[in-house]
Structures are given as C-alpha cells and as structure tokens.
C-alpha cells in the first residue's frame, strides 16, 4: 500500500483557500442523503444510501425540575429533526433535555447525525463547543468520535455531521465529550441502542415465539416482548448552581445530591407523561422520558441499563422478579467459541460508561408493582428528601 502524503505547499494552499472562503460560514447545515430541504428528514431516498437514517440534535442549555421541586440549570441536547434550518436556533434555545433525546438505530443503518451548537442562553460568557461521543462505538475513528483532544468540536451557531455505519447491535450511550467532567455533570447524557438484524425473524425459545431480540443470538435466547432503556444519572445541585451563577465549579468537592433514572428521581420516574416545562425554559418540555415499566404477566422485559453519572458506581436491584444478564458493553455474553455466559442475578452494578442488557421474565409473576431501585440505599433520596431518588416501578398487569 502506498500512501501519498499531501505536499506541504498544497496543504498550505488548501488552508489559504479554505480560510479565504470562510467568511460566510456559521450556519445550520444538515448533511443527510435524500433530504432536499435541510430538515434531516429523507424526502427522496438516495439509491446509494438506502439505509440512511438522519437525526438532528442541538447542544445548548436549559432547566430541569428535580423530584423535590428544585429547578436546576443544565447543559444538554434536544431533538430538532424535522425542523427547517431557519427554525433550529430558536427551537434549540433553552431546550436542553435530560436525558438527551433517545437514539435508537438498527444494525445496517447508515446514521447521519448532525449536531448544531445553539450556545448557552444563560451563560453568554461561555463559548464552549460541543460534540457527540457515541460511547462504545466499535472500531471508532477520531473524526466522528467526538473526543475534543483527538478530534474536532463544533462552535456556536454551526453544525457538524457525524457518520456511523452501524454494524454491532447492543446498548450503548452517548454524551458530549467537550470539557467532559463539566459538560457531563451538567447533563449532556443520553440513551443510545441498536437493534439487531435478527429482529423480524421468528425464533421459538423455551416454548415462546419471539421476533425481537437483544442480539443476533441464533437461537432466540435473547428474545423479549417489551424494552425499556434505563439510564443511571445524577446531579450535584451545588455544581449546577455554581454554573448558573458563573462561579468556580467544585470539581474536587463534586458530590451528587439527586440520584436519578432517565433524568428523574422517584416518584417522578413513574409519571408516564412528560414533566411540566420549567418556567425558565419558556414552555419547552425538558424531561419527557418516563421510567415506568409496564408488561403483561408472562412477557419478557428487556432493560437496557446504562450508567453515565460522573461520580460513582451504582447497583440496581429488582425486588420480586428475576434478572438475567445476556449482554454487557453492547456485546452478547458469549465466549469466543460461543459458550453461553448469561447469568441470573438479583442486581447489577455499573460504573460510569458501563451498560448491561437484562431480561426480566415475568412468567408466573403476580400482577402488581415491582421496584427497580438502587441498593446503595442512601441514594433513595432527592437531596434532603429521604424517600425517592434512584428508583422506578415495573407494573405487571
């Protein structure tokens, strides 16, 4: 193989040309094959990219409401897919969601994900870039990995399109990697998972037919009926308040006071609806994701559990129903020669950046409410409220 290196003179010329035409940039710019009007929706499928999937996110700031009623300032993403480019900046303003909009893809997709940085309305002194880090993406290349040291990050008022050729199913996660400790504590975290090619094929496993699976297992052993992403997260209100008040940020003393699942503390976790929009957001809903899990007795529930908090490990326990872990780190739990490494358990422990796929078989379970909660029991709290925090319910009908 021969690699021809760019002659320095050509590189310099290219640089000068790029700089020479660079006066009219900084605009919302979506790259999406088959999208004719820039709204990240495919209008005429491109025959060269029949499996293209497009998304458009904004990165900015906003507010969320903790389960004890406290509003907190945050940084975050929001979904502007479907909006005309001219509508994106105002739609993304103070629109940060927690968790970030859930991204769900399927194996074989060609994902074109555009990130537009709308800036921080509450912090005009900041000029932070943002990025999307597809955490766990296999065989990643720096250009689309979103790590600021190794790559490029997008400045305010402009757009960067990421490309992911999706070849491995599983439960991933995503977050902004710019000034990671700060931007992640501030809330730029979200669920991301990939369905396998095997979906749609029927397999019968232990007498039950399935058409949806966690992985390409070849035998139906990861079949499930309903799925729920559950992302562990937590906020330190002192850190968020310091950010809003333009004060030095307490990195060393960071101590999370609001343990959450999918951006809410109990009992907000079981509210099936979006939480009301915080007043400071101007009517924009920021916590749309419920963690209420419902199933009919006999169904198999898939819990896609990930942890993106930035301060500690967490254990989640499930009271009264069995858990079986069939995947970890977006991989089927099987050895190199195919040995089954699934395991039954009553709890899972995850550090930041870890994920597991848990099947909950409700066969024979009595109808009622079952609790998925942290057995780090001091975290069943919403700051000083000592009942709440990192817990949700599974309702069996």
């Amino acid at each position: 193989m021969t690699i021809i290196r760019i002659h320095p003179a050509i590189a310099a010329l290219t640089a000068s040309l790029c700089l020479g035409v660079s006066t009219a940039q900084a605009e919302v710019f979506v790259q999406c094959p088959g999208d004719t009007n820039g709204d990240a929706v495919i209008d005429t499928p491109d025959p060269n990219h029949p499996n293209a999937v497009c998304k458009h996110l904004t990165g900015g700031d906003g507010f969320v409401t903790m389960a004890d009623g406290r509003p907190l300032y945050m940084f975050g993403f929001s979904d502007v897919t479907g909006l005309a480019p001219t509508a994106v900046m105002s739609a993304g303003d103070l629109a940060a969601n927690f968790p970030a909009p859930t991204l769900s893809f399927k194996e074989g997709d060609e994902v074109y994900l555009t990130l537009t940085n709308v800036g921080m309305a509450m912090r005009p002194d900041l000029f932070d870039p943002h990025s999307v880090h597809f955490h766990g993406f296999p065989q990643a290349a720096p250009v689309y990995d979103g790590v600021p040291d190794s790559s490029i990050s997008i400045n305010m008022g402009a757009s960067l399109s990421y490309y992911y050729n999706i070849v491995e199913p599983g439960t991933y996660m995503y977050h902004c990697h710019v000034e990671a400790t700060e931007h992640m504590q501030m809330g730029m975290l979200g669920n991301l998972y990939v369905h396998p090619r095997q979906n749609g094929t029927a397999y019968t496993y232990q007498g039950k037919a399935y058409t949806t699976f966690v992985y390409n297992d070849g035998d139906g052993s990861t079949g499930y009926d309903v799925e729920y992403p559950i992302q562990i997260g937590s906020f330190d209100h002192n850190f968020h308040d310091a950010s809003q008040a333009v004060q030095p940020l307490p990195f060393a003393d960071m101590r999370d006071t609001y343990p959450m699942l999918n951006g809410r503390g109990y009992p907000d976790t079981i509210n099936p609806n979006a939480l009301p929009a915080p007043a400071d957001n101007g009517g924009k809903v920021s916590q749309p994701v419920s963690s209420l899990i419902t199933a009919t007795a006999g169904q198999k529930i898939l819990l896609r559990i990930s942890n993106l908090n930035v301060t500690r490990f967490h254990t989640l326990s499930l009271l009264g129903l069995p858990m079986k872990v069939v995947g970890s780190g977006a991989r089927l739990l099987r050895g190199p020669d195919g040995k089954d490494l699934y395991y039954a358990t009553g709890s899972v422990t995850l550090g930041g950046g870890e994920s597991v796929d848990v099947l909950v078989d409700t066969t024979g379970a009595a109808p009622g409410r079952y609790f998925l909660y942290t057995s780090n029991l001091q975290l069943l709290s919403n700051n000083v409220e000592d009942f709440g925090g990192m817990m949700t319910e599974i309702v069996i009908n």
């Binding site: 193989m1 690699i3 760019i6 590189a11 640089a15 790029c18 700089l19 035409v21 660079s22 940039q25 900084a26 710019f29 060609e110 002194d125 900041l126 870039p129 955490h135 766990g136 296999p138 065989q139 290349a141 720096p142 250009v143 990995d145 790590v147 600021p148 040291d149 190794s150 490029i152 990050s153 997008i154 400045n155 008022g157 402009a158 960067l160 399109s161 990421y162 490309y163 050729n165 000034e179 990671a180 400790t181 992640m184 940020l249 307490p250 990195f251 060393a252 301060t311 780190g329 977006a330 991989r331 739990l333 099987r334 050895g335 190199p336 040995k339 550090g351 930041g352 950046g353 870890e354």
Partner: protein, 433 residues
C-alpha cells in the same frame, strides 16, 4: 471553566510536545520494570510532582539504593521462578510487602507483623515464593496498609508464562498471544493524609474522612501520563502511560486496581476481550484457553483486582476508507489470504475506496484538538489554522483511555487531568520502538 482550563493547558501542551521526540527511547515498547528473580527494594520517603504544581510526600519502594518511586518497581519474573525479595527499611515506621495471588510466600528475618513479617526501621526482611502461575498481580505494604498503600507502598508484579514466546503471550495458552503490552496501575490520593504524615500527625489520619482529589495511572496524573518514561523532572515517577500500536495488532492491557476505589476504565476506540482476572485465565477447564472471555468497552476495575484484556483495532466496518480516496490518496488494498484485510497494513478491504461520507465544517466553525491532524485519514496531515494541532507528529488516530467516573479527570480541582491517557493507533510503517 475557562479560566482553570487555560491554566492547565500549557502543561498539557508541554507534555504532549514530548511526543515530537518519540523516535528515541525503547522505554515505550514494553512494560518498564525490573526483570530477574532476586530483587532488593528499599522503603524510602520522597516527593512526587502533580500537574497542578504541587508536590506530595510519599513513601515508596526504591530499587536497591535508587530513588523512592511511585509506584514501586514493576517486578517482571518468569513462571516457575523462585522469587526472592529483600526489603530494607529507611522509614521511621515498620513496613512490609504482601503479594496477593501468590501462594506459599515464606519470610526470613524481620519482625512479626499482622499480615506478614515486617522490616523494622533500619531493618530488613526477605520474602520468597515460587511464581507458580503466569499473570498480572500487585504487591503492597501489609503493615497498616490503609495508610502505607495510600502513601505509595504499592507496585505491580508480572509473571511471564512458560511458553515459546513469553514476551508475547500472557498465559501458557496460545490464544493469549499479544504484540504489545502496557500497564495501567490505577490509584487515587487524598493529599490531606500525606500532609498529616509530613507534619508529624500520622496518628491523626482518619480514613473515614478519605476524600481523594488526585487520580493516577502508573503513578502519574494526566497529562504527565503522556510524557516519556524516566524524565528528569519527575524522578520519583518513572513510569508513563502512552499505548501505541498499529492496525491489526493485539495490545495486551494489564490493568490493576491498586487503590481503594472502583474505577470504570473506558478504552475508546474499540472493545477489548477480557481474558483473565486476578492472574487466572477465564477458561472453562485447565488448558482450554480463554473460552469464558467476553468483550466490553469498559473494564470494571475493583480494588485489589487485576485484569488482562486484549485490544485490537482495524477500523473494520467504518464504511469509509481510512486512508482516503481519490488521486491524492492512492493506495491498494491487497487481500491475498481471504480474511478481508490487506495482508500488510490490515486495511479492511470492503471499505477500500469508499469516500468519507460527510464534509467537514469550515475551519472557523471548529475547535481543534491538539492531537487532531487536520485530516480524518490515518497517517495523514491536513490543513490546520496556525497554532492548532501539532501534538500528533506521526498523524496517528488517538483515543482517550480513562476513568469514566469523569470526576476523576481532574487534578486537585483542576480539569483536565487525572486518570487519563491516550492510545495512539499509528499508521502502518510508523516505527513504534
């Protein structure tokens, strides 16, 4: 955090600029340490440097009459060897060494202690064991270990297998082959403890108030992790952490939880196959090889545990040609053996010739990383604005390897730093010593 960020950046730049000089120094190729079967360690005091400009009193194991070092010397022995370690003590308190994972450790000399025989102040003690099983282990003080391990009396022990090529195999089984290996010994620190010891308040130390603010890989905080090994301005922290490899190679990560906290060690770039834990191959029956291994993108590092994981990267399936397309980037992908990869470069041939799927934004819309080369392609430089980039002279693909408890990416309240390092995938042909 603009102001703090700007304060730390010059140090980051300085550390990364060392990469410019990376053509020399064979210290980068293998795990630094002492080889043999007979070692003399000396417990000593000294000061380490942290990137926030501080220095911290440590106790550490020195090699013979050498300098106190943090962590202690990495002891590299052969499976089956009878290992003898003599510990001399220059500290004012008794010290010792325990060897978790080793069986049949005997002692001679010294004074009786709770966990093992100890060297009294000014005294010595000798430990002997047979390194019966290959693998990655640690050693640390067995005397008031909550304090003494925090003070720095900790190190790594590597047992090379009885195998045809023990320098490229982690265990006896051939499926544990690797091309390169790197050590990741993870620790944290509460500097208040060290200040109390320094000012004669050792017995006032209250470990229930333990509050770490510094996080280390191989005894250095980021970005010092990236500086070369044995640099003169960190005489007590000789070990660096800068893994480098070519596409298609196997990199063995030897990871040790050498402190008291759990750390989720996230290796960007690809999954790694966890083949062993605590020096025990994950196999269903003896001799089966790592058939119970599984791949993950994070190593869950528990205190006192060790891990061996094999990391590979080729860029397979990215859907675009990592060496570029068009006349400026002409190259071949030759797959003679039918494995879908170029026989020499490990390029994934099904992606050969596929153009980069997106255009990159205008330069004024971007913030550039110091290791960004201006080009999305491996081994190639592109155009960058003046003053940008420059920390990646061979234009490798770089990936952060770090604790995903992101709080730990700080140095005593300053971001960035802490428990972080960078992997460099070097283009084929770039020499890696």
């Amino acid at each position: 955090m603009k102001r703090l960020h700007m304060k730390i950046m010059p140090r980051l730049v300085a550390a990364l600029w060392l990469l410019i000089g990376l053509t020399s120094g064979n210290a980068w190729a293998v795990i630094d340490g002492l080889t043999g079967a007979n070692f003399t360690l000396t417990a000593k005091a000294g000061y380490i440097a942290t990137p926030d400009g501080n220095s911290v009193l440590m106790w550490g194991y020195a090699n013979g009459a050498g300098l106190m070092q943090y962590p202690g010397p990495t002891l590299i022995v052969n499976q089956g060897a009878s290992v003898t370690i003599t510990l001399n003590n220059t500290l004012a308190v008794p010290v010792s060494i325990v060897f978790p994972g080793q069986q049949g450790v005997t002692t001679s000399g010294g004074t009786p202690g709770v966990l093992t025989a100890e060297a009294a102040p000014g005294g010595s003690v000798t430990y002997t064991f047979t390194a019966a099983r290959a693998g990655t282990y640690l050693y640390h003080s067995g005397t008031r270990p909550d304090l003494q391990t925090e003070m720095g009396l900790v190190g790594a022990l590597i047992v090379r297998p009885t195998a045809a090529d023990p320098l490229h195999q982690a265990y006896e089984h051939a499926n544990t082959h690797f091309d390169r290996e790197y050590l990741f010994l993870l620790t944290e620190m509460d500097k208040t403890v060290h200040e109390q010891v320094e000012f004669g308040q050792m017995n006032s130390v209250d470990m229930t108030k333990y509050h770490p603010t510094l996080w280390f890989i191989n005894g250095r905080n980021g970005p010092d992790t990236l500086a070369e090994a044995s640099v003169p301005w960190m005489p007590h922290q000789p070990y660096n952490t800068l893994p480098r490899m070519h596409p298609g190679e196997k990199l063995l990560m030897r990871v040790i939880g050498a402190g008291r906290d759990l750390h989720p060690f996230h290796h960007h770039g690809n999954h790694a196959l966890l083949i062993a834990r605590d020096g025990r191959l994950l196999e269903s029956t003896p001799g089966a090889g790592p058939d119970l291994a599984s791949a993950d993108f994070t190593v869950k590092v528990v205190p006192g545990e060790t891990y061996d994981a094999i990391f590979e990267w080729t860029g397979k399936g990215l859907g675009w040609d990592i060496y570029g397309t068009g006349p400026d980037y002409a190259h071949n992908c030759t797959d003679g053996n039918g494995d879908s990869f170029d026989d020499a470069t490990s390029e994934y041939c099904p992606d050969h010739g596929k153009p980069l799927p997106t255009s990159l934004p205008n330069q004024l819309d971007l913030t550039f990383g110091g290791m960004w080369t201006g080009s999305p392609y491996l081994g190639l430089m592109g155009a960058l604005p003046p003053g940008q980039g420059g920390m990646n002279p061979s234009a490798g693909f770089t990936y952060m390897w770090h604790s995903h408890t992101e709080k730990e990416l700080t140095n005593d309240d300053l971001f960035p730093g802490g428990m972080m390092s960078m992997l460099i995938i070097e283009a084929p042909g770039v020499p890696i010593p």
